[in-house]
Amino acid sequence: MDLQSGDVAEEIKRLQRCINDLVSLFTLSAMWSGGPPTQIVDTLLDALLRMLQLDLVYVRLTNSGGQAPIEIVRFSRSQAQTAQEQTGQPKETGETLKRWLGTDPQKWPPLIRNPLGGRDISIMPLRLGLQGEIGDIVAGSERADFPQQTERLILSVAANQASTGLQGARLLSEQKRVASELDRRVAQRTRELAKANEELRLQVGLLQHIPVAAWTLAPDGKPDFVNQNWLEYTGQALDYVRSEPEAWMTATHPEDRETVSRSFWGGVRSGQGFTFEARFRRVHDGAWRWHLNRAVALRDAAGEILRFVGTSTDIDDLKQSQDDLRRAEERTRLVVETALDAVVTMNSQGLITSWNKQAEIIFGWSPEEALGRKMSETIIPMHYRPSHENGLRHFLNTGQGPVLNQRIEITALRRDGTEFPVELTVTPLKSGDGWTFSSFVRDISERKRAEEKLRESELNLRQMTETIPEMLWSATPNGSIDYCNARVLDYTGLSRQKIQGAGWMKMIHPDDAENAARAWTHSVESGGAFYFEFRGLRASDGKYRWCVSRALPLRSPDGDILKWHGTVVDFHDRRQAQEDLRNAQAELAHVNRVMTMGELTASIAHEVNQPLASIIASGDSCSAWLSNEPPNLDRARAAAGRIIQAATQASEIVQRLRALFKKTTSMTISVDVNGAIEDTISLVRHEAQRNEVILRTELEPGVPSVSGDRVQLQQVILNLAMNGIESVAQLDYEPRRVMIRSTRSDSGEVLVTVEDTGPGIDAEHSDRLFAPFFTTKPQGIGMGLPICRSIIEAHGGRLWAAKNEPRGARFHFILPARTE
């Protein structure tokens, strides 16, 4: 600019004006302290308007609270008609300005259109605050030379002053705000604290009365309160407890002190509180009892710990029972582990929840492999799975489990896929909302095998008893028949049902039934062997035949009778044969007697004398009756009749006697010679033994039969044998032997020899041996040998005697074999 004198005075005036304005500005700023920002702005704007004769001045203040900026606008009088308009519509102004100028005032063009209309105005934006953080000022004038340097200066200074003022105002207002906030907070805190203290007092009061030992600790862990319960329990005094943080620990068991200390301090220092169990001494009996000690931190609103509050509860009994429970559980576990049965538990989902050692052994899954797996997929065979699932579901729905709580035989699956028989019991237990199913499984493969073997052997036995060709039966210890084989049923014609119990009585002859029952009852009661001969009814021909039943008891190792086992044998034929033999023997014995002298003559004599006596007596009386006065013809006739009868009797006797000695045989049958000899021997054996004579036979097997009268032939053998025994009986040297031989001769005939070691036949008697009435025996009649010869010759044979070497006699007879 160019400087002239007139201009200089103007310039000086302008500068003076400028300095005055500046001073005013500085003065303004002094006024601003303590006032709100808006006051500052107002003052500033007014001052600027006046000073610089602006047409427009706009301020926008940023709002620290994030709200919309404060916008103030002032228009000069010339611009605005009314005061209101002077200050009005800052926002629109701002908007307008912004519209024209963009948001960043520093980029606004120096010249813009007047928002209120009129000519364009030149504007000068200025920042408030170093970075415009406070806001912006926009001064505007219609003057073309706006802004001049001095104006620029003034605006800058004003802006700076405003900035400073505003900042100061802000700070002040902030300080005020903070101060009031602090006041509010302190008040609140004080209220809270008072409340907390009140609560604490209440709590402490409560603590004093609750029936457990209770205490509070300061945040540093030092006990500041312990209730009466504690003091009485431990016997400690309050002052003592409060004297030191760890004073109360003397009430704890020495062994637990370390743990206690650790838990305690750890909880206190971390502020988390603590929970531990320790033994405390009960002062009144000195007992150490387990206590549960718990402490929690009591915090204020800021989260700071006010106190620790805690309790000590005597849990000794609980611990004891816990211990007991634990021990019981341990025992149970042990039992389950060592049980011989596999114990497997399953939950409602069918998953395995426990698996003992035996389960591992039986099934082949380890516990790790089995637990948590579905039971149906591990140990249940495929074909049972559906019914298992169904059964489980059914039970869960209805509570019914037909196979539960009982022993069932079923098969199970081993890990390797083999199925095996098991005995299973499943027991359901309610646990919480669900169920636990305990399964006890026993591998019965061995038992099944044994059962099978037994069945087999029983089958064998049954087959045997059914096919043995004898009648077998068995009875229960009380005598009731419970089994008989097919032979019995065939023989008696009774059915199995009919025979059982006492039905067997039906087969016994009525006359033998009572004795049979008695004998059986006796055996059953005494345990003695049963033996009974009876007549039994044979169904095939309806005849009674002689049978014999025997039975023996089967006893247990203790001696109790378990069963009776018996047989029935039809021995009718044998018995008959025995009876026939007895009869034959009796007859033979009789005949033998008859063969001896006295008996024979007595027999004959007696038999004949009877009729003779009648004849003679009746003859006498007959003639007497006829000689009677008068003759009694009736009586005579009767006598005569008696004579005839008696005479007939006598002749019959004679005939019989003759027949005994007749050459023709009376009964011709096939006689087994060896059999006849043996039967005879049995008769004379006793006699031989009595005389200490050895009796031997050498019978050739297969000797042919002969035709004849068995009794007569036996007579002959008997006679010869008796002769031999009698001759040997007298000896006083050895051997004392009689030997009977039978052989088949070359010509196919039967040769029988009876030899003895006796004195032998005297030479001078040898030719009269077979003559009647010849005997060397004092008692003999001498009829034996002749009769024997007579019998043998009647059979078509020969009888002769010979010498035995070195000593004795031999009598031979030969008979022709029977021709068919």
């Binding site: 006596a613 008696r642 008696a646």
Partner: protein, 205 residues
């Protein structure tokens, strides 16, 4: 025959023999009753007459010899005539020893049998008489007092009255009185008679 004087029993199991013998005896005038066995005979009662028994030895069941023993045991004194078809000596000896009248073997002669029966009946009569007599004597004896009995016992031993008195500790006079009473009560005519009576009664001091 009415009012028989005696009776003969015949026991034989052979009817022919039974009838023949009965016929024979009947002819001879005896009253006969026959039995087929010893048991039948024992079971039947018989009248109180002189009787005898013709008895076969060989009887079924109870033999003749057994019957003899039985009868003796029961105190029946009936005389027996044995008949036998056998006739061995030991048997006959036994029978006779046991008191049989006769032992006849069959066939017997009529005369043998009749004589034996006569003998037997005679015996029976005699024993019956004897029994009656003894009964009478016993009756009389019962009338004696105990003292009189004592006196009787001593009298028949031949003691004098004086001696008897001494024995019994009483006087001769008393004894004389007793003796007189005894004599009259017993109806003995003499001492000898009394002695006989005592013997029959088997009285001893």
């Amino acid at each position: 025959m009415s009012d028989p004087k005696s009776i003969v029993f015949v026991v034989d199991d052979d009817p022919l023999v039974r009838d023949s013998v009965a016929d024979l005896l009947d002819l001879a005038g005896f009253t006969v009753r026959t039995f087929g066995s010893a048991t039948n005979f024992l079971q039947s009662g018989h009248p109180d007459l002189p009787a005898c028994l013709i008895l076969d030895v060989e009887l079924p069941g109870l033999s003749g010899l057994d019957l003899q023993v039985e009868l003796t045991k029961s105190g029946v004194d009936m005389p027996i005539v044995f008949l036998t078809g056998r006739g061995d000596i030991p048997m006959s000896v036994r029978a006779m020893k046991r008191g049989a009248v006769e032992f006849l073997t069959k066939p017997f002669r009529k005369q043998e049998l009749l004589e034996a029966v006569e003998e037997a009946l005679l015996r029976d009569r005699e024993s019956r008489n004897r029994r009656a007599e003894t009964a009478e004597l016993e009756k009389r004896l019962r009338t004696l007092t105990p003292r009189e009995r004592q006196v009787l016992a001593l009298v028949v031993t031949g003691l004098l009255n004086k001696q008897i008195a001494g024995e019994l500790g009483t006087t001769e006079e008393t004894i004389k009185v007793h003796r007189g009473r005894v004599m009259s009560k017993m109806a003995a005519g003499s001492l000898a008679e009394l002695v006989q009576m005592a013997g029959k009664l088997k009285i001893s001091p």
